[in-house]
């Protein structure tokens, strides 16, 4: 029997189609079948979701997350990661290739796809490694990875140091038809750095990662992008000069995209100074206020295509340590929307632009579409932008708790997340 789902009473907001009106979204057979601004009578067999006071938008797409599965399941696995995603409003998540074993073969990609499908979380799209073992020496079997379900190729948090190899990888990937993801950081320039290099690292006596460690790779990669014509995605970016370089490249017509994380739009190196908290150790590092401003400006003018969660779970074993011994990373799936809405409340960005960077932008990086148009898969998020919820470790669906935002009240509460028309998350919280 074909049951319909009606999402009623909300503000339908789709950055892809430009729809922005109160109304009812109609879902049927796992797809969106229509949107109505008038009254829609519910039939006896219809299920109705009350979206009063809420925004109804395409489900969020995350380009930079790590589910640690296989390999570090004590931090996160495909089930917990998928739950954290839908709790945060994400319906599609690209999971990094930095698994153990590395996702550099068809077998690993297939396993991730198959196992993820068994859990009722988000859609999990694997990133296949660009080089074998992410060692930067030999290319992976990219066609095979693509056919197994990989949607992007990249060595996740390792930069390909060998420019000659990266050139070949870009050429090859162009024919495979997948974008190449690169997180830019020159290892020799980063050295033993553990935070942004600047006056704050000087004050704290911690080794710094200079901004040029990122910028030098961005500039090199853009030159290779121009030379090969391959689709290149850079991120997460942290430095002002990186954004400026991408802006120029886009103006030149290069097929380049980039992303920043929601946390990098809020935090700077000054936060580290408070108490050397290892929760603030991140890769790329949180940089200076001028860098944060530049990331925001890039978001506003469209240079930055996507806001990512940067989800990188770590257990206390990796975090309850001296700052420079702690592993970098923070969980981000369940705080991304709140952080983005905080920017909206601060008047730094329009709601529709913010949502574009969570939906339209990242989907396009993958050559996909995130929209509320009829015929599209019913991947939908319903959130109350006026509700505020405190970030509490016990409430997180992620298996890890490594976030510097614990205890903070963030705006926005995801009421429902639907993947393929199925309700995968329903808020039981009643906070206003």
């Amino acid at each position: 029997m074909n049951t319909r789902t009606l999402i009623r009473g909300g503000r339908l907001l789709c950055p892809t189609t430009g729809l922005d009106a109160p109304g009812t979204l109609i879902l049927e057979g796992g797809r969106i079948t229509g949107a109505s601004t008038g009254e829609v009578e519910a039939g006896a067999s219809d299920s109705v979701l009350d979206a009063t006071g809420c925004v109804v938008a395409p489900g969020f797409v995350d380009l930079h997350a790590h589910f640690c599965d296989p390999g570090e399941e004590h931090k996160e696995d495909l089930r917990s990661g998928g739950r954290a995603a839908v709790r945060g409003g994400f319906t599609t998540v690209v999971v990094g290739s930095q698994t153990t074993p590395v996702n550099d073969t068809r077998a690993v990609t297939e396993m991730i796809v198959r196992r993820a499908a068994a859990f009722e979380g988000c859609r999990v799209l694997p990133m296949g490694a660009l080089t074998q073992g992410r060692e930067g020496r030999r290319l992976t079997e990219m066609y095979d990875l693509r056919d197994a379900g990989a949607v992007a190729l990249g060595d996740a948090d390792v930069t390909v140091a060998d420019a000659g190899l990266l050139r070949r990888a870009l050429e090859y990937a162009r024919a495979v038809g997948l974008p190449v993801f690169e997180q830019p950081e020159d290892a020799s320039l980063a050295g033993h750095g553990v935070m942004h290099e600047g006056p704050v690292s000087t004050r704290l006596g911690l080794n710094g990662v200079p901004a040029v460690a990122e910028v030098a790779v961005v500039v090199r990669d853009l030159a290779l992008c121009a030379a090969t014509g391959a689709r290149l995605h850079l991120g997460p970016l942290s430095a002002a000069e990186s954004v400026a370089a991408v802006r120029r490249a886009k103006a030149d017509g290069l097929p380049v995209t980039c992303a920043v994380t929601a946390a990098h739009l809020h935090l700077t190196d000054e936060a580290v100074a408070a108490a050397y908290s290892p929760q603030l150790r991140s890769r790329p590092p949180f940089r200076a206020e001028a860098d944060r401003e530049a990331l925001l400006a890039g978001l506003l003018d469209g240079t930055v295509d996507a806001i990512a969660s940067g989800h990188r779970p770590q257990s206390p074993v990796e975090k309850d340590l001296e700052f420079d011994l702690a592993e970098p990373g923070l969980v981000g799936l369940e705080t991304a929307l709140g952080l983005v809405l905080r920017l909206v409340l601060e008047g730094r960005v329009e709601l529709v632009s913010a949502l574009r960077a969570l939906t339209t932008g990242p989907a396009r990086v993958l050559g996909r579409e995130a929209s509320l148009a009829a015929g599209r898969p019913a991947d939908v998020v319903v959130f109350d932008p006026a509700a505020r919820a405190r970030v509490a470790g016990a409430d997180l669906s992620s298996r890890s708790r490594n976030t510097p935002f614990l205890g903070q009240a963030l705006p926005g509460l995801v009421r429902f997340t639907l993947v393929g028309g199925e309700v995968r998350h329903r808020s039981t919280e009643n906070v206003r």
């Binding site: 050295g191 290099e197 600047g198 006056p199 704050v200 690292s201 000087t202 004050r203 704290l204 006596g205 911690l206 080794n207 710094g208 108490a275 050397y276 309850d320 340590l321 001296e322 700052f323 420079d324 011994l325």
Partner: protein, 310 residues
Amino acid sequence: MTQTRRHLLELAPLEAREITELLDLAESFQDISHRRIKKVPALRGMTVVLLFLEASTRTRTSFELAAKRLSADTLSIAGGTSSVVKGETLLDTTRNLAAMSPDIIVLRHKHSGSPHLLARHIDASIVNAGDGGHEHPTQGLLDALTIRQHKKRIAGLKVAIIGDIAHSRVARSNIAALGKLGADVWVCGPPTMVPPGIEALGCRATSDRDTAVRDADVVMMLRIQKERMTEELFPSDREYSQRFGLDRDVLARARPDALVMHPGPINRGVELAPDVADGPQSIILDQVANGIAVRMAVLYHCAGGGGGDA
């Protein structure tokens, strides 16, 4: 629980008044070391743990003598003998120590911010005896005390600190202490060793040795660590010595009564010429002697004695 404890983690946040009080307190302890019975009962019944996870002779023995002259019970744990080498984390090691109820833990560790980590998690007073490239507060205090005793003031003096500023905790603590007390502090080294934004700590920076030394009242040389050569921070001992070392000719550009200081251990012939190190202007051994009085003052203060909150 930890809020009620007095720590000494760094000098940077202290006010000039608090630093002066600690120096005055140190001066009042100074004569104890010159008595026949070098002991007062100020910390009798208290336990001081000296947790030195990085090699140190001078600072550890200085703290140990300071604690003993105050009649505290001391327990000394060095890097090689601790569980940290067996893979135990710093927090676990110190939690175990804390379970034995020490009053003060003195920590030397190669990781910046580690005393702050302990202060957050451990119920004991934490004294920083040097954390990575961050601070070495008791060194900053003893240097300030030594200068004050020789010059009768600190305000208005020109102090040149020369060496690897980027990796020096001694430099940071001295900039904090001397800067707050009104000295005109200059730091100097090759650009690879002068970190960005150092001026924000309250000093001026130059890579020209003559600019730093000219008319200086105090020239403080820092130990140059040979392992920095492998990081390509400088090409050779020879060139370093010629361009950034201190010999008699260079010292002649400072004021005639300029003081020469060094936190030790010295690389003789690299950053400091032997005749300058042993010359009449050198007060290097006074620094060592003052170390005990300063550490007595810090331990006494952290144990709850004296006034104010540092």
